[in-house]
Structure formats: structure tokens, C-alpha cells
């Protein structure tokens, strides 16, 4: 009985937690007028409070059809997001993974200082480093190019930190055994480090993907050219004309993140657990 009560309370909170997604899903199949009638107070076109329904009164696929067949802007931004996210993820694999391995497995002068710097940089919100990043990108003549977002993303400290935690977890005896067997440092990294730290790498990639997919401040700050904007800036003003389309776009934008999340769900849990015990 006690367990049932506990579960009920948990399900209730879980329901509250995912209610925005439910509303988003329902709104995707609502007509414009129906959406407006519910959110009229938000749009300052009515009194009282906004309301919502779990099921549309008049379900329609018009918004989905309009988005998929008649919104090239949406796809332009979708592929911009794919490009930025893929580039950052690839960059993190190329630069972040060796960095994490080096920090985890080698001892060198100033290692602790470097690690501390990583931690500090990770803790800093974007707003703190925004100006300095802007100045550096301007100096590199990279402002208003995709690299303005990709380059700082590649050298993100968070993924290095996660991979570092996983690489640290590889027993030193295995590494030593490999060395005794004559394996070089690169062989150890590629043959032992990457396979044994795969969970951490995937976890870092999943988290990196989710972060990049929903990245807003960096594109808004560094990209002036609209054609370079990622999907996270597809924020059409919710007005009487496009409320339904906006909900639908939000729903479709959610799908890649959902797929990636589900694909790396178990690795992600490990990664989160790993980051939770950091320090």
C-alpha cells in the first residue's frame, strides 16, 4: 500500500514534469484557431488565464503538412543545427578525447593547474566568457561564421571532464600490462583507452549533442547572418497566424534529440553519474 502511494506520488510528479511535452504533442495536431483560443491571454487577446486540452477538438495535420512541405526556412535551420552539432561533436572527439586521456593518464608539471582551469572554465556560465570570446573571434575574423559557434564548442570543457572521469576509471594495471607487452602510447590510447572509455565518450557525445542542439546564446551573439542560424533560434513569434506551426516546429525539432537520447540513454546515465561524483 505504501509502495502504491509512493508510486502514485512519483507518477504524479512525472506527469507534471512531462506535461509540457504532452501539451506540445497535442498542440501539434490542433488548428490555429483552437490554439489561439487557449493561449489568447498569453497573446494579450483575452482575459483570464491560458488553458489547454490534452486532445484537440478538431485534430488536423495541416500544421505538420505546412511545416514539412511549405517551410524551407525550418529545414535550412535544421541543417544548420546538424552541421554545427556534428562539427562540434567531431571536434570534441578529435581534440577533447586526447586531452581527457592526457589529463587522466599522464603526470606532468602543472597538471593540477590545468585540471583546475578546466573545472573553473566549466563552472563559468557563457555570459561571463561571452565578451572575451567575442573579442577573440573578432580577432580571428570568425564572427558571423559558423566557426564562431563551432570553434568554442569543440573546446568545451564539459565533455573533456566527463571523458576524463571515465579514463581515470581504467585500472592502471591494465595499462602497465600493455606497456610490458610492448604497446606504444598511441596503441594503448587507441586499443585500450578508447574501447574501455567508450561509455564515457558516448556519454560525452550525447550530452554534447543535446547541449549543441539547444544552443541559443552563442548563435544569437556571434551570428548575425540569419541563414547561419541553428534551429534553436527558430523562434517565430507566437501570433495569431503561426501559433500552430510554432508548436509543430518545436515538436519536430525535439525528435533528433529524442533519438540521440534514447540511443545513448544508458551511456548518458553513466556519464551523469560520473559527472555527479566529479571532484
Amino acid at each position: 500500500m505504501k509502495k502504491i502511494l509512493q508510486n502514485s506520488i512519483l507518477y504524479l510528479f512525472a506527469l507534471l514534469e512531462i506535461s509540457p511535452l504532452i501539451f506540445l504533442f497535442a498542440g501539434t495536431f490542433m488548428g490555429n484557431q483552437e490554439v489561439i483560443s487557449y493561449i489568447a491571454p498569453v497573446l494579450k487577446k483575452g482575459d483570464g488565464y491560458a488553458s489547454w486540452r490534452l486532445f484537440p477538438v478538431f485534430p488536423t495535420l495541416k500544421n505538420i503538412a505546412g511545416l514539412l512541405l511549405d517551410s524551407p526556412e525550418f529545414f535550412q535551420m535544421f541543417w544548420n543545427s546538424v552541421k554545427i552539432t556534428a562539427a562540434i561533436s567531431a571536434g570534441q572527439l578529435i581534440f577533447g578525447m586526447p586531452a581527457a586521456w592526457g589529463l587522466a593518464r599522464y603526470s606532468f608539471v602543472g597538471k593540477r593547474l590545468v585540471y583546475m582551469l578546466y573545472i573553473i572554465m566549466m563552472m563559468m556560465p557563457f555570459q561571463v566568457t561571452m565578451l572575451s570570446e567575442y573579442l577573440v573571434l573578432d580577432w580571428l575574423k570568425l564572427l558571423d561564421t559558423s566557426f564562431a559557434v563551432i570553434l568554442p564548442g569543440i573546446f568545451s570543457t564539459f565533455s573533456v571532464f566527463i571523458m576524463y572521469r571515465f579514463f581515470c576509471g581504467i585500472p592502471e594495471s591494465i595499462i602497465e600490462a600493455a606497456r610490458i607487452d610492448g604497446a606504444g602510447e598511441l596503441q594503448i590510447f587507441f586499443r585500450l583507452g578508447i574501447p574501455l572509455g567508450a561509455s564515457g565518450i558516448i556519454s560525452a557525445m550525447v550530452l554534447s549533442f543535446l547541449e549543441c542542439w539547444s544552443m541559443m546564446e552563442q548563435p544569437m551573439t556571434f551570428l548575425k547572418t540569419k541563414s547561419l542560424w541553428p534551429l534553436s533560434l527558430f523562434l517565430p513569434e507566437i501570433t495569431g497566424g503561426n501559433a500552430g506551426l510554432s508548436l509543430c516546429a518545436s515538436f519536430v525539432a525535439l525528435l533528433p534529440a529524442v533519438f540521440i537520447f534514447l540511443a545513448g540513454q544508458e551511456y548518458l546515465e553513466q556519464g551523469i553519474a560520473s559527472s555527479a561524483v566529479k571532484g
Binding site: L69, D70, P72, F75, I202, T225, S227, L262, A263
Partner: protein, 446 residues
């Protein structure tokens, strides 16, 4: 571990399919967008004079028509021309019967003679009456003179008798010296009688003389208004003219000739019938030429003025002439446009059109009229501007209010200052557009 990998592979496949689907929809939406974006052609503002072209449909008409006259009451023997036939000066149009000409001449001469005889008789009567009047006047004057003389003598005698009676009264008074009043009184009564007799005679003389004067006045010749002879003279004069004409017709063996080069437009006589008082033929006069007559809508009157040069087109020929006159018709809806044409080159009655071109002042900023839209009391154009959009740099239509100074059927003159020479104005679009819409420029042909 394997289960975890299978799950990951499954969802990654799903992710790959999602990307593939998004790729397909990207292509589809791009293709759909290409179909829905308005294709426009653009034009820049240019400097030009606005031309107003008005076409007036009409016909070629005769400019002046003349009537061919001959004497009335003559029998038409033959008609040598038909309506629409071109004739030259001197050509025989008809022939009249000689016998009827002679008959008409005789008839007129008889009329003339009878009028002359009437005049002669009237003159004789007038002279006779004048003589009689003169005789009566002489007699009245003679009677008056005699009467006047007789009355003067009688009055002198009566006056003398009166004086004598008065003298007797005076003498008797002196002689008696206040005595014998009875005898004086008797003389005084006698003198009074004489006075009365004298005055009565004077009165009767006056009455008689007045009567005699009136007799003289009655005998004087009266001024009687009698114009009959003058009227007869006029009639005779007219008869002479008619006779003269008849003699001329007779001299030409009854032929009626064309007085000018031209085209027969009307025949008002028939063979076997007599000519009337009016002309027997109507014809154009080549010396006066032809004219174009067309109708123009009253609203277009502002584009045409008398003296404007117009181009007349008819059956492949064209001629530049000037507008002779503009007349509003009774309905006030149309204006009759007339332009004189040379006689040669055009045919009477054929349809023709007049193209009138009028130019405005030179405007430095003119755009195609199709580019100008009308709003609520405002006019505006759409400019094509390059704008940074999600899809990259795109051509976007932007609304720009303008002030139209003047326009014709093709162009509108706009107030300067709003558009510059670099402005790209949408002159043609394949669908309705609004400000902010993306547009695509039509590919130039050739």
C-alpha cells in the same frame, strides 16, 4: 552489454531515417517554395514624357457637297451617271427633253408678255385719272376766286351803309341838342340793323369761302400707294433670268454638266419625270477635299485640341493631318473630331482611324503603371530589396508609398525624392504580393 548496443543501434538507425526524411522534406519544401514564390520583373525609374495615345474610329466623308441645279419643270430624258460615280468637270450628268425646254420657254415668255400688257393698261388708266383731277382743281380754284371777290364787294357795301347810318345818328344828335329824342332813337335802331346785316354778311362769306377751299383740296391729286407695277417688273426680271437659263440649257441641247471634279453623292431626278425646284444632283467638290469624322469619348477630350497633329489610317494608307474641329454632341458623351484630308489617297465612305498622340512635360521619375498600386487614398509601389533571410540573401518585396503626379495608360509619373535610379520596382508579378514577401526575378529572355 549487447542489449545496450542493440538499443543504441536501433535508435541510431531511427535517427538516420529521421535525417533522411528531413532531407527529402527539405527538397520538397524547397521545390514547393520555388513554385509559390512570386516571379516578378523589375524596372527602374526613368525620365520620359508621358504620351497619351487616343484612337478614334470614324469614316472618310466629303468635306463639301455641291448641288447641280437646272431649270424646274423640264422633262428628264436620260441620266448618264450613278451614285458614287466619280465625274470630271463638264461631264454630262443628264439630258433634258428639248420639247419640254421649248414649251417652258414659251410658257415663261407668255407670262412675261401678259405682265407687260397689264403694266401698259395700268399706265394708261393712271394718266387718264391724272388729267381728270387737274381739271377739277382748276375749276375749284376759279370758283373760289369768284366767290371771294363777290363777298368782298358785298361786305364793302354793307360797311358803307353802316357808316352812313352811324353818321346820321351823330348829326341828328347835334341838331336837336338833347331834344326830340324819339327821332334819334329811330335813327339809332336803323344803324343797329345795318350793323347786324353787316355781321351776318361777313359770317356767310366766311362759310362760303371755307367750302370753296375744301373743294380745291378735294381736287388736288392723291398719293395712292400702288406697287403692282414694281412687282410686275421684278417678276419680269425673274422671268428673264429663267428664260436666260432655259436658253442656255437649250443651247447645250439639254445637257446638264458637272460643275466640278467630284463624286456623285445623290440623284434627285428620274427619267421621264420633270425636274423640281431643287437641284437634281449632289456631288462632292474635289477642290474642297475629304475629311475624317470620328467620335471620341468625352472623357478623352483633354487629350485632343484643335490643331493637334493626328495620323489617319485607312486601308493601309496613312496621312498626318491636323484636327480641324471638336464638337460636343447632344448627349454630351461624345466629341465629334474632324480633320481635313486631301482628296487623293482616301476613298469616300471608307472606315478609318485617327491616332492622336499628346505628350506631357518631361518627368524625371516615371515607372510602369502596372507597378503602381492603389491603397486607401495612397499610392504605392513594391521595391525589390536584397535582404538577409533564413534562406540566405533573398529578394524581398518592400512597400513604398509614392505620390503620383500624372499617368497615362502605360506609365505613371511619380514625385521625385522617394525613388532613386538604383531602385528596382516590381513592374509585373505572376501573383499577389505583400510587403515582406520573397520574390524571384523572372529570367530575361534572349
Amino acid at each position: 552489454m549487447k542489449q545496450r548496443k542493440r538499443n543504441a543501434a536501433f535508435w541510431m538507425k531511427g535517427f538516420a531515417w529521421l535525417l533522411l526524411a528531413m532531407f527529402l522534406f527539405t527538397i520538397i519544401s524547397r521545390a514547393a517554395d520555388a513554385l509559390t514564390v512570386a516571379k516578378v520583373s523589375v524596372a527602374g525609374p526613368s525620365s520620359r514624357k508621358l504620351q497619351y495615345r487616343v484612337s478614334v474610329e470614324g469614316r472618310i466623308e466629303k468635306n463639301r457637297e455641291i448641288s447641280v441645279l437646272t431649270c424646274p419643270e423640264l422633262l428628264v430624258k436620260s441620266i448618264r451617271v450613278s451614285e458614287g460615280q466619280r465625274v470630271k468637270k463638264g461631264d454630262t450628268l443628264a439630258k433634258l427633253d428639248q420639247a419640254s425646254i421649248m414649251e417652258q420657254i414659251d410658257k415663261l415668255e407668255d407670262e412675261k408678255r401678259s405682265l407687260e400688257l397689264e403694266d401698259e393698261a395700268a399706265e394708261a388708266n393712271r394718266q387718264q385719272e391724272q388729267k381728270s383731277r387737274q381739271k377739277e382743281l382748276a375749276r375749284a380754284k376759279e370758283d373760289y376766286a369768284w366767290l371771294k371777290k363777290k363777298n368782298q364787294m358785298a361786305l364793302a357795301h354793307a360797311k358803307d351803309e353802316l357808316e352812313k347810318a352811324k353818321e346820321k345818328v351823330k348829326k341828328q344828335k347835334r341838331k336837336l341838342n338833347g331834344q326830340g329824342e324819339d327821332s334819334v332813337e329811330a335813327l339809332r335802331a336803323a344803324a343797329e340793323e345795318k350793323r347786324e346785316a353787316y355781321h351776318a354778311l361777313k359770317e356767310s362769306s366766311r362759310t362760303e369761302e371755307r367750302a370753296a377751299k375744301r373743294a380745291i383740296e378735294d381736287a388736288l391729286p392723291e398719293q395712292v400707294s400702288d406697287n403692282s407695277m414694281a412687282i410686275h417688273q421684278i417678276s419680269i426680271k425673274n422671268l428673264n433670268k429663267q428664260l436666260q437659263k432655259l436658253l442656255e440649257v437649250k443651247k447645250k441641247d439639254g445637257k446638264v454638266s458637272a460643275p466640278r471634279d467630284g463624286v456623285i453623292t445623290g440623284i434627285f431626278a428620274a427619267v421621264g419625270q420633270k425636274t423640281a425646284d431643287s437641284g437634281i444632283f449632289n456631288m462632292t467638290d474635289d477642290r474642297a477635299g475629304l475629311r475624317f469624322v470620328g467620335q471620341l469619348l468625352a472623357g478623352d477630350a483633354k487629350f485632343v485640341s484643335t490643331g493637334d497633329i493626328v495620323t489617319i489610317h485607312a486601308a493601309g494608307r496613312e496621312e498626318e493631318v491636323s484636327v480641324t474641329s471638336l464638337e460636343m454632341d447632344e448627349s454630351q458623351e461624345f466629341i465629334k473630331v474632324t480633320a481635313l484630308l486631301p482628296a487623293k489617297g482616301f476613298s469616300l465612305g471608307e472606315t478609318a482611324s485617327a491616332n492622336i498622340v499628346q505628350e506631357s512635360e518631361n518627368y524625371s521619375c516615371t515607372v510602369p503603371l502596372a507597378a503602381v498600386y492603389q491603397g486607401d487614398n495612397t499610392s504605392y509601389v513594391y521595391l525589390v530589396q536584397k535582404e538577409d533571410t533564413i534562406l540566405g540573401e533573398q529578394e524581398v518585396a518592400r512597400k513604398m508609398e509614392v505620390k503620383v503626379l500624372e499617368k497615362n495608360g502605360s506609365y505613371a509619373a511619380l514625385e521625385t525624392g522617394v525613388l532613386d535610379s538604383e531602385s528596382r520596382i516590381i513592374a509585373d508579378t505572376d501573383r499577389a504580393i505583400e510587403s515582406g514577401d520573397r520574390v524571384r526575378l523572372k529570367e530575361e529572355k534572349g
